[in-house]
Amino acid sequence: MLLYRRPAPGTQPELLHPPYVSSIKRAPTQPLIQLPHTLSEITGPSFPKGIVPPKGFDLTRQHKGEPLGERIVVGGRLMDEDGRPVAHSLVEIWQANAAGRYLHKVDQHDAPLDPNFTGMGQTLTDAEGRYRFVTIRPGAYPWRNHYNAWRPRHIHFSVFGPAFATRLVTQMYFPGDPLLEFDPIYNSVPVESARKRLVSIFDWSTTTPEIALGFHFDIVLRGRNATPMER
């Protein structure tokens, strides 16, 4: 008996996706075993309001000065497949700076770090499942997956939702990015309409005059089956 519906075929990446070279030595080779949804899978951590720092949502105000780059507002709703809001739920993000460099010892890309930008944010959704971040538009950067490989601009998102079964980590992309069609991570999602849900939408309603462009990105978690779980 499954409480949470499984995603439709082709709407999630396969674990082994050879164009993404790192998956070759790390994707399991044995078939996954179907896990029934017991109390262990339908419960999950809930984070109290106080856990999120006050400036967690604004990545442009975590240091003494302002970060370089194009300031943007990124917002949307966390909901399930039936459109029900996922309220008071933790959203974590991380990203490169405007020059395409991460504040991480492993990132040796020859682009400057920004002393005023860490690239991490966290917030809780409101009662309607809405979230909002202020940040700067991340730069594209090279990686060594294949010759002349460049990652499209993206922001990493981590969400929990109501249960262990709904945990999701994903990446948000920007509309019109010419690198998307060449990116093996973006293209690991087989169905095009599903893939396109990873691309945010330019949004006049959150674009703030004289301040920042707005981008809308909804995150949809698995829906629940109508039948209640047998106890």
């Binding site: 790390r26 996954l32 075993i33 017991t38 339908i42 497949e81």
Partner: protein, 189 residues
């Protein structure tokens, strides 16, 4: 509104920037009772190489079998302060270690209580979706009747059961092998 589920994407190598603030390797904190244990191991790739850029998330009940879950699907709640959630990155040598209490039993799908277990998500560069696995405890009398363990081919069950350290039975060892002869059992959750 709503629609289909948002696709998963990899955490990539730099996830510690965004996830590190919530690292928690002491899950025993706040528990009102229970046997304290340390669990340690390594994550190994298809060539047996340690994985230094991975992260585990743990979800578990307290010693009485209660999840710290808001929806209150259980009759009792754990002691205030017990959270049951852990986030543990691997180090440069691909090793992880955390402390917790041995969990109690929770209801299973067949009306029979499940054996004590930890729910585990595994994230790393190279994984386009998280991996889901479970850790069970050595010599627990409930293991043979556990519904989920019974779904696993008998020859692979041992990959889910931690081993006590000969010199210190309070420390359990459990490696995660992504591929190979002793590949860990992973679940479709």
């Amino acid at each position: 509104m709503g629609g289909e589920t948002t696709p998963s994407q990899t955490v990539s190598p730099y996830f510690s920037i965004g996830l590190g603030w919530l690292n928690r390797d002491d899950l025993a904190r706040g528990a009102s009772g229970g046997k304290r244990i340390t669990i340690r191991g390594r994550i190994l790739d298809g060539e047996g190489q340690p994985v230094p850029d991975a992260c585990l998330e743990i979800w578990q009940v307290d010693a009485d079998g209660n999840y710290a879950h808001l929806e209150g699907s259980q009759e009792k709640s754990p002691a205030q302060g017990f959270f049951g959630f852990g986030r543990i990155p691997t180090n440069d040598r691909g090793e992880f270690s955390f402390t917790t209490i041995k969990p109690g039993r929770v209801p299973g799908p067949d009306g029979c209580a499940q054996a004590p277990h930890l729910e585990i998500s595994v994230f790393m560069r190279g994984l386009l979706r998280r991996l889901v696995t479970r850790l069970y405890f050595p010599n627990d009398p409930a293991n043979p009747e556990d519904h989920v363990l019974s779904l696993v081919p008998a020859g692979r069950r041992s990959t889910l059961i931690a081993r006590p350290l000969a010199t210190d039975p309070q420390t359990l060892e459990w490696d995660i092998r992504l591929q190979g002869e002793r590949e860990t059992v992973f679940f479709e959750c």
